[in-house]
Amino acid sequence: MLNESMTAPTGAHETSLNIDNRKLGTWVFLASEAVFFSSLIVTYIVMSGRAVSGPTPQEVLSIPLVGINTFVLISSSVTMVMALAAIERGDQRRLRRFLIATALLGLLFLSGQAVEFTLLYQHGLSLHSDLFGASFFTLTGFHGAHVSVGILWIGFVLARAFSGGVTKENHLAVELVGLYWHFVDVVWIIIFTVVYLIGT
């Protein structure tokens, strides 16, 4: 008892939560992000139906296209889970592959968003065209920004994976990016439901 040393750098013991600092930090960060997106979604809901001009959601939103896009993003969460499962088994090759797949699917999602945005823009919808355009682009735009940051994050983890820095014993980085990625996915599901399914 007197010279007991603590192995984890954070000195995990009975008066800590036994979760790595960085993992706890990521959860806490996501809690804050949840409030951020909730505020944006509430704003969207408050604003819906109040535009005095411009195209309505029913007129311009394309559920098929965005439905496919949603499927793409959900698939990327699946590949992310597979990536984590792979490294938990020590399979570095599959880790890298699934991470790449996740990033690619993320990029595909963003391309789909770009296509959707362009179509809407051609219909006269923009940030300044009217209230619907403003709240729609702000909400989906910030989500897209979060996806982009996620893809960059995956890139960092991939770089580390390629240099052998991610192992069966030490793969916290994959867990953390996974947490973030799943969060962003869940947010999208809510946005899709509120904006596309309920809102039209």
Binding site: L2, A12, N21, V28, S32, M47, F137
Partner: protein, 604 residues
């Protein structure tokens, strides 16, 4: 004595502060960062105070023209913005930074480089905000920035862009800091320190950090909406396009009300440390103080629309928010009773920290009462938006938070510098401050009842508000003298103050178990605690039994320039966003990205 066992004086020489500028730019040590926060905030306090003096000079007499209304509106906007975002929040964070790891028996915060980044974001955010004065005009639509006055139609200068983006920048810093505190407090308490054995200051900081995490995003979204409206004409608050000015207020106050608890809970924490130590008793009702703090934190999210009783909400909504606002007064009063009860049977040591603590209790109580009258809807309908509210907010934020800050400064100055602040000068400052403060703000209750609205830059002679205004201006200068006395005290005491050892006040908590100032590594060995007040334990053998993972002598001096780089990059990007120069935005983002890459890849 067990205190000295925690500082292995033989292993390392006592650290002397290095004075190179570079050291301060790259430090990630929580004590350094705490000092940076406290110093920078205090500078902003003086600036905000000068702004207050300009306001008071302008209002001293009717039909005055000391400054034009255009300038006046910038001054009062920046006074509020500065005092809240650039002084009170950061200085409390500074105390927390310095003291919480020590109280927890930890070596540093959970994320030291993130900690540094939070500071630089705050500092640069504040500097960006102030640069607006010379870049076409500071923000001038109030610290609360109600739409649609803040849109480009009615506020055509870039002032409000600086406001929105400056708030966003400092807000990111606050949020990152909050994450750091939550993880540190939940995960890095020393052995034996269960949650219910944690010092009260650290407890209040935990609740504060959670409030920041959940409140700040609402303001972030609000500021984004405002910026988009101004930069891209997104009509969120433009009624003629279906926008809702009220949305601004709901989001703002959803943040704004927890914000005032963010400003007062750390103050409660400081008082909860000072009163027991200077009463030489344990605090009365430790658990009650914790649970009431949690209750206040939670309830603080349910009362926001009591700032909006006159905007035309339904009477039912008014009733609900009024009820919640009254309920929240209960846990608040409990704390006051607990502090007063702590003094019963104690042996009071009326040094300056205790003077300020007693002043705090008295002044905050007055502010609490005016708060209850404001929670009463019919009375609020008369006195909201008047000087009555100015009186209320200053009683709780100045008589409350600022008094507690001075209590903390006098209490922990010896810990941070190894010297006492002068008692004589401190007492002088205290009395000047009490006199000046009450002279300035007590009559404002009356003025509000007499019909004087807020945020007016002058008033007619026939209102008979002039006499009280004149008195208040005198009071404000007495406050200024008090602050000057404090600065004199610091100047005199830094070099020649009476030396203080590790535990000059006979404290109860772990920060007093190490030298003053503490060595860089805080504790040579990790303390084990068995009670809430480890330094009052009878058994000296019960501490100092565990080791940190790294031994005393191989503490890496973690420094990093990248937190500063990231904050700098964001600042550059903000300028780009204000003026909508894509090149500047990209440059800023590139610098920011480089900083992040640096953080990820630097050797640790």
């Amino acid at each position: 004595m067990q205190r000295n066992m925690l500082v292995d004086a033989q292993a390392l020489p006592l650290q002397r502060y290095q004075t190179s500028v570079l050291r301060w730019l790259v430090t990630t040590n929580h004590k350094d960062i705490g000092l940076l926060y406290i110093s920078a905030s205090f500078l902003f306090f003086i600036v905000g105070g000068v702004e207050a003096l300009v306001i008071r000079l302008q209002l001293a007499e009717p039909n005055s023209r000391v400054v034009s209304p255009e300038v006046y509106n910038q001054i009062f906007t920046m006074h509020g913005t500065t005092m809240i975002f650039l002084f009170a929040m950061p200085i409390l964070v500074g105390f927390a930074n310095y003291i919480v790891p020590l109280q927890l028996g930890a070596r540093d915060m959970a994320f030291p480089r993130l900690n540094a980044m939070s500071f630089w974001l705050f500092l640069f955010g504040g500097l960006v905000l102030y640069s607006s004065f010379v870049l076409g005009g500071a923000p001038d639509a109030g610290w609360f920035a109600y739409a649609p006055l803040t849109g480009t139609d009615y506020s055509p200068t870039h002032g409000m862009d600086f406001w929105a983006l400056g708030i966003l920048m400092t807000g990111v810093g606050s949020t990152l800091g909050a994450i750091n505190f939550v993880v540190t407090i939940l995960n890095m308490r020393t052995r034996g320190m269960s949650m219910l054995k944690m010092p009260l200051f650290s407890w209040q900081i935990l609740v504060t950090a959670i409030l920041i995490l959940f409140a700040m995003p609402a303001l972030t979204v609000d500021a984004i909406l405002l910026y988009f409206e101004r930069a891209f004409r997104a009509p969120f608050f433009l009624a003629q396009q279906g926008g809702q000015p009220i949305l601004w207020q709901h989001l703002f106050w959803f943040f704004g009300h927890p914000e005032v608890y963010i400003l007062i809970l750390p103050a409660f924490g400081i008082i909860s440390e000072v009163v027991p130590v200077f009463s030489r008793r344990r605090i009365f009702g430790y658990a009650a103080i914790i649970y009431s703090g949690i209750a206040i934190g939670f309830l603080g999210f349910t009362v926001w629309a009591h700032h909006m009783f006159v905007v035309g909400l339904s009477p039912i909504a008014d009733a609900i928010f009024s009820l919640d606002s009254m309920i929240i007064a209960v846990p608040t009063s409990i704390k006051i009773f607990n502090w007063v009860a702590t003094m019963w049977g104690g042996r009071l040591n009326l040094k300056t920290p205790m003077l300020f603590a007693i002043g705090f209790i008295s002044m905050f109580m007055i502010g609490g009462f005016s708060g209850i009258t404001l929670a009463t809807v019919p009375v609020d309908w008369q006195v909201t938006d008047t000087y009555y509210v100015v009186a209320h907010l200053h009683y709780v934020l100045f008589g409350g938070t600022v008094f507690a800050i001075f209590a903390g400064l006098y209490y922990w100055f010896p810990k941070m510098t190894g010297r006492f602040l002068s008692e004589k000068i401190g007492a002088l400052q205290f009395w000047f401050m009490v006199l000046g403060f009450n002279l300035t703000f007590l009559p404002m209750h009356i003025q509000g009842l007499m019909g004087m609205p807020r945020r007016i830059y002058t008033y007619a002679a026939n209102t008979s508000w002039g006499d009280l205004n004149f008195l208040e201006t005198i009071g404000s200068f007495i406050i200024a003298i008090a602050v000057g006395i404090f600065l004199w005290n610091v100047a005199v005491s830094m070099r020649r103050g009476r030396p203080a050892d590790g535990d000059p006040w006979h404290g109860h908590t772990l920060e007093w178990a190490v030298s003053s100032p503490p060595p860089g590594y805080n504790f040579a060995v990790a303390p084990i605690v068995h009670s809430r007040w480890p330094l009052l334990e009878e058994n000296p053998d019960s501490v100092a039994e565990a080791h940190f993972a790294t031994g005393v002598t191989d503490i890496p001096e973690e420094t990093s320039v990248f937190p500063l780089v990231v904050a700098f990059g964001l600042g550059v990007a903000v300028y780009g966003l204000v003026y909508l120069y894509p090149v500047l935005i990209l440059l800023g983002v590139a610098i920011l990205f480089a900083g992040i890459v640096g953080l990820v890849y630097e050797p640790r």
